[in-house]
Symmetry: C2
Subunit: 489 residues, 2 copies
């Protein structure tokens, strides 16, 4: 399998069979994305008409293409796929990605054709991705966007396998917009040959992949999947979004990729036993992965909430409790310590409501006291970003003279940035998660002439923030549960 | 109460007591936001030091200010509030907004002071908003941003009452970024005098308010709230986000605004009996309100799903079923009709998977057949936006010659815009909701030099789209449930 990994994700040469100049065709898009990306290996477009493809030579057939090709991408008509694979195998191409659709997902006839292409490939020692796949992305050693979705994906540490190209694209985009990169993405299509179990094992040994994210409709080799997941979960978290959890959804999955969705209760139990984290939505998957990748491991479920506004504290408390997290009681000693740093009317319990702190150190000092006394496993800081927002309002105002606005805004913004750095340091020092919730009003605010928002800034600093308390809390609950479960694996 | 409405939301003159030139103070911010906004009435800043406020005269005391003032905004020290209110009442000012905090939310002493200010006000015939409020916004007849949050709010049809200024700001921002405007926003603070029940009745008779959105921690006059909600729900939907649904959350609410959160089961039952729609998060509130404001009334729970990708259909089906919506069976006749317009391998059941349609009319024609046969109450169209995204990719590409890219992109974008118009027309024709789900990858895509995204375009056209199927489906389930329940009120 190590060879499959290399040929598939780190090819030095690609033959692209079915190259098209027609912008509307996949034979154009996928090739376009590879060429536009940073791929540095050889690319050989093939089309019986020959000619050129935007300045590149198009080869009339495989015979014209040099030997020692690592990867074939096949975007020909359904009727031509068998013969194309036969020729690729004849040329000793070890792996092929079959983009072409119209196989088992369309019915009996297609299923017969699908079996045939696998037979042809395997008798020639060739492995197949797909058919009916949107393609793959690989982030290393250089980016290869052999995928319909586009060139938006950036390299990083999340390995993503999706039994739906659309969901694979959408999930990868959701990661990338939060500055979380992708190591490898596979749209696994009908999984006629290589299956989710294979890709899971490939990512298991991939040093670039620190976390695995899956969209699963059905698992064909249950026992193998179970064992791999259990083994991997101890080393790398596996997040799953499951499609086909209801009978009607399972039915829809059947006509999508021909996958048997199976019994949802069985799948859920399997997740619990293997340490797999189930996400309910694509966004929750990204929120949870971001926390796993950027925060220290929480060792329990006791939460301390420090809030810059009472309402935030109230809804966050409700959400913690309903997600199985515990609002840590403060105890007399802690209350006395906090008494010394906060104005007399502070809430005297958890959540700690700072209203409008006089100085940002009131925030970190409060969190520090909770951590120092070991009464919490994680801290949530709510209502951040308001200083940057205020600074921006001053700068945009026609009322305030520029001279006054600029200096005040600079001080205000600098203070907030210092706060984020302090929070990051503190989290490192105590080795516990401190999770910043920056309200969407602030995180959306454009901070420079390049349209960078506050959340962009923080993401680039590796500080995963959340634009509503619920998003942070649902992710934290899943993270806490994951670490608890893998202790018993 | 009609007079309170006029003085509070449509004042011709405001006295602002506690005007400050210090950018960091609320006595600056709130005044700044009124001045920066479009408010056209008179504003009289008051501060014992007199002088000027960025070019405006500052009055040393109330005596210097003309008579016939509609509204007083009070941002003085806690100790000065009683005397200030006494003077305002003496000057026959009918309504005051007390921004100043430090009252019942801080304990017994504050509670005594709070009672005192209410007594002084009412003996002078004056009504109070707050204390401990962030202020109010009114969208008509002109915008008045008498609020800490800023000047982001735009006028529209949502009336918003929040027992937390931060949540009021955040929710209003979430509405406005989706081009859903606010008629009136009240941060109700400690509700020492005017209470949520009063504001509810004010909005009941406000012709500018088509929908009411509430953040509630506790209701003081249960019976009155119940009756008002029941009466209003028949005319205007009421959406509620409840804080303090858990014992710990209720405890936090107690120290926030002094509100008794009450028993959550009782509150839930009350919502069901009055037609109130409960939202679980701020985002869900906006998703649901947007659907109520832009779509026809669904008359049942049968859904038709038309999807431009199999995976979307699978997860949407799961979510519909788990939200209590029904995936309408197609029936022989409908299948035969759709057979005529789709390629032979289409799914032949609901969800209808179009894969990559050859022409956008395949989408609307499929939806049309479902509506024509009366087998669905609402349609979901999944995977839209991919054409605009593709057009954008062509324009951005260094590979495709500009001449070729521009024309193809124009055609592609035009085709998609035509589709959205067709969907809107079709929805009107059949008087049933057709809900577009535009994946976030497409809805985020910047479409012009002013950084407008596709979702911005659609929002401005009054087309509420959703960036994930789950968001649309949760909202639809709540909308269906609301209309069913108000039939029995």
């Amino acid at each position: 399998m190590q060879q499959v990994f290399t040929h598939l994700f780190e090819p030095r040469s690609i033959v692209f069979i079915g190259a098209s100049q027609h912008l509307f065709k996949w034979g154009f898009s996928v090739l376009h994305h590879i060429v536009r990306g940073e791929f540095e290996g050889e690319i050989y477009p093939v089309n019986p008409h020959g000619g050129s493809w935007y300045g590149r030579r198009v080869y009339k057939n495989l015979d014209e293409v040099p030997d020692n090709i690592d990867l074939a991408i096949i975007v020909v008509k359904k009727e031509l796929v068998s013969e194309t694979i036969r020729r690729c195998a004849g040329k000793n191409i070890p792996v092929g990605i079959v983009i072409t659709a119209g196989f088992s997902e369309t019915g009996k006839e297609g299923a017969i054709l699908e079996k045939e292409i696998v037979k042809i490939a395997s008798s020639g020692g060739m492995r197949l991705v797909g058919p009916n796949t949107m393609g793959i992305f690989s982030g290393y050693p250089v980016c290869m966007h052999a995928i319909m979705a586009g060139t938006h994906i950036r390299p990083g540490n999340v390995g993503l396998i999706a039994q739906s190209g659309n969901l694979g694209s959408s999930i990868s985009y959701r990661f990338v917009r939060r500055e979380i990169g992708i190591s490898r993405l596979v749209s696994s299509g009908n999984e006629a040959d290589l299956k989710i179990e294979d890709y899971l094992e490939l990512l298991e040994h991939d040093p670039k992949t620190r976390l695995i994210s899956l969209y699963v409709e059905g698992v064909r080799q249950g026992q193998r999947f179970f064992e791999a997941a259990k083994r991997i979960s101890k080393k790398k978290p596996i997040l799953v979004l499951k499609g086909g959890t209801t009978p009607s959804g399972a039915d829809a999955a059947m006509s999508h990729t021909g996958a048997m969705a199976g019994d949802d209760a069985v799948f859920k139990a399997m997740c619990r036993q293997t340490g797999i984290i189930q996400a309910d939505t694509m966004d929750e998957m990204v929120d949870t992965a971001g926390m796993l990748l950027t925060q220290p491991r929480p060792t329990g479920n006791k939460v301390g909430i420090v809030s810059l506004g009472g309402g935030w504290g109230v809804i966050a408390t409700d959400m913690c409790v309903s997600s199985g997290l515990e609002i840590a009681p403060l105890g007399k000693e802690v209350v006395e310590k906090i008494d010394k740093i906060l104005p007399s009317y502070w809430s005297r319990k958890n959540p700690i409501d700072l209203v409008a702190p006089n100085h940002v150190t009131q925030i970190t000092d409060s969190v520090g006291i909770l951590l120092e006394h070991g009464i919490i496993d994680a801290a949530l800081v709510l209502g951040l970003g308001y200083m940057s927002l205020r600074a921006k309002k001053w700068l945009d105002s026609p009322v305030i003279p520029k001279s006054e606005a600029v200096e005040s805004a600079r001080l205000m913004s600098a203070e907030e940035m210092k706060l984020f750095d302090l929070i990051k340091e503190q989290s490192k020092k105590y080795n516990k998660p401190i999770i910043p919730v920056v309200d969407i009003m602030a995180s959306d605010a454009v901070m420079d002439n390049d349209n960078n928002t506050l959340v962009n800034y923080l993401d680039r600093k590796g500080i995963m923030s959340y634009s509503a308390p619920g998003m942070a809390i649902r992710a934290l609950a899943k993270v806490v549960d994951y670490y608890k479960r893998i202790e018993y694996l």
